[in-house]
């Protein structure tokens, strides 16, 4: 077992062990905290496919996170108010069934990622960052001025959506759902990294012209990466909304996009489990420092500064003693 595998195992043991302990000790808040970390990790793992593997610095991934959130919010809102989502030309009802909500969140995110990718991938570098940011802001301001679904106040969902065979209102059971999805996505991510597609994407990040002469289209590779990445963020958004039983435009905010990047940098860029470590640390700091000081983000910023300056490999870089390009 390599040290990285050991570290991955420890991290997952921590993510599973703490909620289990909290369950036994009857500390539901700790389980909710761990669920929050797992969902953020899921979103960050999604972003990492575009950022770490594809080298696409997207400052607009909150778009997919938010779409996931609103997919859940809108479907559940119509279900709880017994109003159809659409009455013409055919009737579409809302739903409180998680798998359907996830599917809708992922499909809509994928379509939006495809369209955003078509437009934004024609640019690169700072222009790419700006154009993805602009898309994020478009969605943010659109939802703010969308009174039908709460506008700036967002949407509250009274009862958490259901999953067959489980009681999702029980924190540990909802946590288990989120963790299972995170594990599935991590597995998928590890497969992608080693697949010809992942290898080609990595090569395209390093030497774009060179991959063209061997018959690979960098644009298409990046587009596929962005779509996979957005789809995963959409799923995470739906779970996040379900965790809070609330969606609001802040899910689309550029700070959200920034936080996802922070998770990756804190954890370790280009490592499959890096975003998980980053998100866990962030939620932990948010909880511990948030109680001590109102300015906890200042300390997170300080930490980020130290990480970027001294250990470009993030937590993984520190613990493994070397950075991986």
């Amino acid at each position: 077992m390599t040290r990285e595998t050991l570290l991955n195992t420890l991290l997952m043991a921590l993510l599973i062990g703490v909620p289990l302990w909290a369950w036994v000790a009857d500390e539901p808040f700790t389980i909710t905290l761990a669920t929050r970390a797992v969902i953020f990790a899921l979103a960050a793992v999604g972003l990492n496919i575009a950022l770490g593997l594809g080298g696409l610095v997207s400052l607009g991934h909150a778009v997919y996170f938010g779409i996931g959130g609103y997919a859940m919010g809108i479907l559940a809102y119509h279900a709880q108010t017994y109003t159809p989502l659409m009455a013409w030309p055919f009737v579409i009802e809302g739903t409180k069934f998680m798998p359907v909500i996830w599917l809708v969140a992922m499909v809509v995110s994928a379509v939006v990622a495809f369209v955003i990718g078509l437009l934004s991938l024609r640019t690169s570098g700072v222009y790419f960052i700006m154009i993805t940011l602009a898309f994020g802001q478009m969605f943010y301001f659109f939802t703010i001025s969308w009174p039908r679904y709460g506008g700036e106040d967002g949407l509250s969902i009274y009862v958490r959506n259901g999953f067959p065979g489980l009681n999702t209102l029980d924190p540990i059971q909802f946590f288990a759902i989120c963790l299972a999805l995170l594990c599935a996505v991590l597995w998928l991510n590890a497969r992608i990294v080693k697949s010809p597609f992942g290898l080609a994407l990595g090569a395209a990040r390093q030497v774009p012209q060179r991959v063209e002469t061997v018959g690979l289209d960098p644009f298409r590779l990046k587009l596929v990466a962005l779509v996979i990445s957005g789809t995963i963020c959409g799923l995470a958004g739906a779970l996040f909304a379900d965790l809070n039983r609330f969606v609001s435009p802040t899910m689309f905010s550029w700070q959200m996009s920034g936080e996802l990047i922070v998770f990756i940098i804190l954890g370790g860029l280009g490592r499959v489990f890096g975003p998980v470590a980053g998100a866990t640390l962030f939620v932990l700091l948010e909880h511990l420092l948030g109680g001590v000081s109102d300015y906890f983000l200042f300390y997170v910023g300080l930490l980020l500064l130290l990480v970027v300056l001294f250990t470009p490999g993030g937590i993984y870089g520190i613990l493994l003693g070397r950075s991986k390009s």
Partner: protein, 228 residues
């Protein structure tokens, strides 16, 4: 009908024109040398074929007009380039370099490492840590595993030790005799080219000025256009 045919191709890098009218053909299974002194347009011709520089004129590959295609589309049609500045994907291992670009056909990982046994020994090593010669073999292997119909070798033995050069030439000869692959070669070593090539096209100031069986390339012509 020839696999690749260029007719009156011109190309420029913005303000400076590099090709003024190149005619070039490579037949099915033929090995053709593209010759000429430095700066006469050999590499630019290759870049025009691979759509890495804007060009005018007729270019056909496998019966298809390729002048409007993108780089990767030309590669997908079956043009495998071993570029002048050899560069493997440094952060990928040897094996990953090959698997990332592989396309179905005769060439697979096993066949490539059979041709270059050194790559077999290094298969789990990062490409960036290989010697120049090994990297060159990897880049040739990477072009082969895309299963091209035409292999273009642009200065494939440049800057390598005599021993490695010999090894690479032996592999190229093997390719010619065992697989019947069409090859377009650019190289400085006239002796090696004479051994391996069927035909030659000589460029002078961006124009093709001589074309014929390489055995007909007399000392008068080679002195005049190649300086040897």
């Amino acid at each position: 009908m020839s696999l690749l045919s260029l007719s009156q191709v011109t190309a420029d890098y913005g303000a400076s024109q590099a090709l003024f009218g190149v005619d070039l053909t490579v037949g099915e299974g033929e090995v053709v040398a593209l010759m000429g002194r430095n700066g006469m347009g050999k590499s630019t011709t290759v870049r025009a074929i691979c759509r890495m520089v804007t060009s005018q004129g007729t270019m056909r590959f496998a019966g298809q007009d390729i002048s409007g295609l993108s780089s990767h589309a030309v590669a997908r049609l079956g043009v495998g380039l071993v570029p002048e500045t050899r560069r493997a994907f440094r952060d990928l291992t040897v094996r990953e370099n090959l698997l990332a670009v592989a396309r179905p056909g005769h060439w697979d990982f096993a066949k490539v490492v059979a041709l270059f046994p050194r790559l077999q020994e290094r298969s789990a090593q990062r490409a960036g840590s290989l010697s120049g010669g090994e990297q060159q073999m990897l880049v040739i292997g990477r072009a082969l595993i895309t299963n091209p119909r035409l292999l273009i070798l642009d200065e494939a033995t440049e800057g390598l030790s005599p021993l490695i050069r010999q090894e690479i030439w032996t592999s190229i000869a093997q390719l010619k005799h065992e697989t019947g692959l069409s090859i377009l070669v650019i190289d400085k070593s006239l002796k090696e080219l004479r051994q391996i090539c069927d035909r030659a096209t000589v460029l002078e100031r961006g124009r093709s000025v001589w074309d014929g069986p390489i055995s007909d390339l007399d000392s008068e012509t080679s002195r005049r256009f190649l300086g040897v």
